[in-house]
């Protein structure tokens, strides 16, 4: 109860305040449309929102899966070969600080700007870094007691990897995935601002804004929020299923 009531109260209060400010203060819709207007647009445009969300969702999911698989392979390799790990971690950390989304227009040139490949590639690249960096950290951190214990069992390298290193790295993998899942949706939506095929939520938002249909644009933003939230929640669910021993998520 005490965990549910305050956020609900805050949410309702914020909506009411927003509505009142806009209607009583006669705020122009291009500054901020009223929630009621946005809600009406969500109902009216629900078919379009779902279509655009499916397109963006497919891009985000493809990029997320591709980037994650690649990151897992890379992290396994980097934890296996010392030199590779030593070189790749600082390099990846630097790349991760760059605005990777800026690659979008270049990828549009390198591939067709009429295919979904550039957006999915950008998403995959954005996803790669948090998964790679977190998983590699997890693979490297092994409890020294576990290490000694496995030595007393005369366990070989492969047994050690399977019984200790991989399960021990699972929480770190999911830390990376949680970040990656929301980044994937953000990248897939925002990549459309840089041109390329325009069939997702990002394109819908810009075109509605260009037609000064601001409540409609906000309705698509709401769709994007729901998409991001569902990606995040599915990741949390997977985490729960994969690690039943965790009593608390998100430490």
């Amino acid at each position: 109860m005490r965990r549910v009531v305050p956020p609900v109260v805050v949410g309702v209060l914020a909506l009411v305040l927003w509505e009142l400010t806009v209607t009583l203060g006669r705020v122009a819709p291009f500054i901020l449309p009223a929630p009621s207007a946005i809600g009406a647009q969500i109902l009216e445009q629900r078919g379009n929102i779902v279509d655009a969300a499916l397109a963006s969702g497919a891009n985000a999911l493809t990029g997320l899966i591709g980037g994650t698989l690649l990151a897992i392979l890379a992290a396994l390799a980097a934890s296996r070969f010392r030199l590779l790990g030593e070189v790749s971690v600082p390099f990846a950390a630097v790349l991760n600080a760059l605005p990777i989304i800026a690659l979008a227009p270049i990828l549009n040139n390198m591939f067709e700007s009429t295919s979904s490949v550039p957006r999915r590639l950008v998403t995959g690249i954005v996803v790669f870094f948090p998964v790679f960096l977190n998983l590699l950290r997890g693979l490297r951190e092994v409890d020294p007691v576990h290490q000694e214990l496995m030595r007393t069992y005369a366990a070989g390298g492969w047994t050690f990897a399977r019984k200790v290193r991989l399960p021990g790295a699972l929480p770190h993998l999911f830390t990376g995935l949680r970040q990656a899942s929301s980044l994937a949706v953000i990248a897939a939506v925002v990549a459309e601002y840089f041109g390329g095929l325009q069939d997702g939520l990002g394109a819908r938002i810009t075109s509605a804004a260009a037609f000064t249909a601001y409540p409609r644009a906000w309705a698509f933003v709401a769709g994007a929020c729901l998409l991001g939230l569902s990606f995040y929640l599915v990741t949390l669910l997977l985490e729960r299923l994969a690690m039943p021993w965790r009593t608390r998520l998100i430490s």
Binding site: R3, P6, P7, V10, G11, F30, I31, E86, V89, P90, F91, V94, L95, N96, A97, L98, P99, I101, A102, L103, P105, I106, L107, N108, N109, M110, F111, E112, S115, V117, R137, T175, R178, Q179, S181, S182, V185, I186, V189, V190, Y193, F194, G195, L201, G202, I205, T206, A209, Y214, A217, V221, C225, L226, L227, G228, L229, F231, Y232, I250, S251
Partner: protein, 280 residues
């Protein structure tokens, strides 16, 4: 030093891969089942690295300033916006974190929204905030608003973790000294929060750069690197190397901000342990 060598090695590998692919790749890309899975390797899509370097030195338009000057100027312009956004976002994040630490009910009411807003692509709002330019604030400030908006989440969450990190023993010790909330905050909680604050600031710096670049593009603000990127991308068919110079500029901007934020922590974190902060 090791880090520098590692980054250099990574860059060289990347450069070798680029030129290597150009040497062996199909100029028209590799198409599988109607989808181009490997990029075109021709000079229009993937110019030689030296072409890009030469382009940096050549004038932007015939008789104009050299491209590198234009790119650096654009970077500095965006750096200004990023800084304004970063500082505003960090301050708001800090204030929110302190409020959430002080009042349990504020934490309960706000934290779910702060976390949720990290998971949703609210930067998608950028084209809508563009409408504020010229009405509520100058156009460049709308971009800074977007940057600030992206920067404040990591700071709010990371700082809250940090403020809550002192042990019960530490808090009780302060109580035994009859220190009030403010003294406890200044002498115990703020110093304890530093190891959490700096990783959060680094995330916030990177987010502010993304916000500024995306913001410039969707608000159409002129003069910055994001805008330059889009303009040069449009000229890609006639002048393919140009867009890469703008991309290098965006990378430079990211490095500048990351470096500046790292410098911030040097004097304060010398004798402190480093912690991992996951804000999501």
């Amino acid at each position: 030093m090791r880090r520098f060598l590692a980054v250099l090695a990574g860059l060289l590998t990347g450069a070798a891969a680029w030129e290597g692919y150009k040497a062996v790749g199909n100029p028209d890309g590799t198409v599988l089942f109607g989808v181009r899975v490997l990029p075109r390797a021709d000079d229009l899509s993937m110019p030689h690295l030296w072409t890009i370097a030469e382009r940096l030195g050549a004038p932007e338009l015939t008789g104009g300033r050299p491209v590198w000057r234009v790119v650096v100027d654009a970077c500095l312009f965006t750096l200004g916006i990023t800084t304004a956004g970063f500082v505003a976002g960090a301050l708001i994040g800090l204030a929110l974190a302190v409020a959430m630490q002080r009042f349990r009910v504020v934490e309960r009411g706000l934290l779910p929204y702060v976390i949720i807003s990290q998971t949703v692509p609210l930067v998608a709002l950028a084209p809508l905030i563009a409408g504020w330019g010229g009405v509520l604030m100058p156009p460049w400030a709308t971009v800074a608003v977007i940057a600030a908006y992206l920067a404040f989440f990591p700071v709010a969450v990371g700082m809250l973790r940090g403020l809550q990190s002192p042990s019960a023993a530490g808090v009780e010790l302060m109580r035994s000294y009859a220190a009030g909330w403010w003294r406890t905050l200044v002498t115990l909680r703020l110093p304890a929060a530093l190891p959490y604050l700096f990783p959060a600031l680094r995330l916030a710096g990177a987010a502010a750069v993304v916000g500024a670049v995306v913001g410039e593009i969707s608000t159409g603000t002129r003069g910055g690197i994001g805008r330059l990127l889009i303009e040069y991308a449009r000229e890609a068919t006639s002048d393919p190397a140009k867009v890469y110079t703008a991309m290098l500029g965006a990378a430079l901007l990211g490095l500048l901000v990351a470096g500046a934020v790292s410098l911030l922590e040097l004097p304060l974190m010398r004798h402190r342990r480093h912690v991992e902060v996951a804000t999501l």
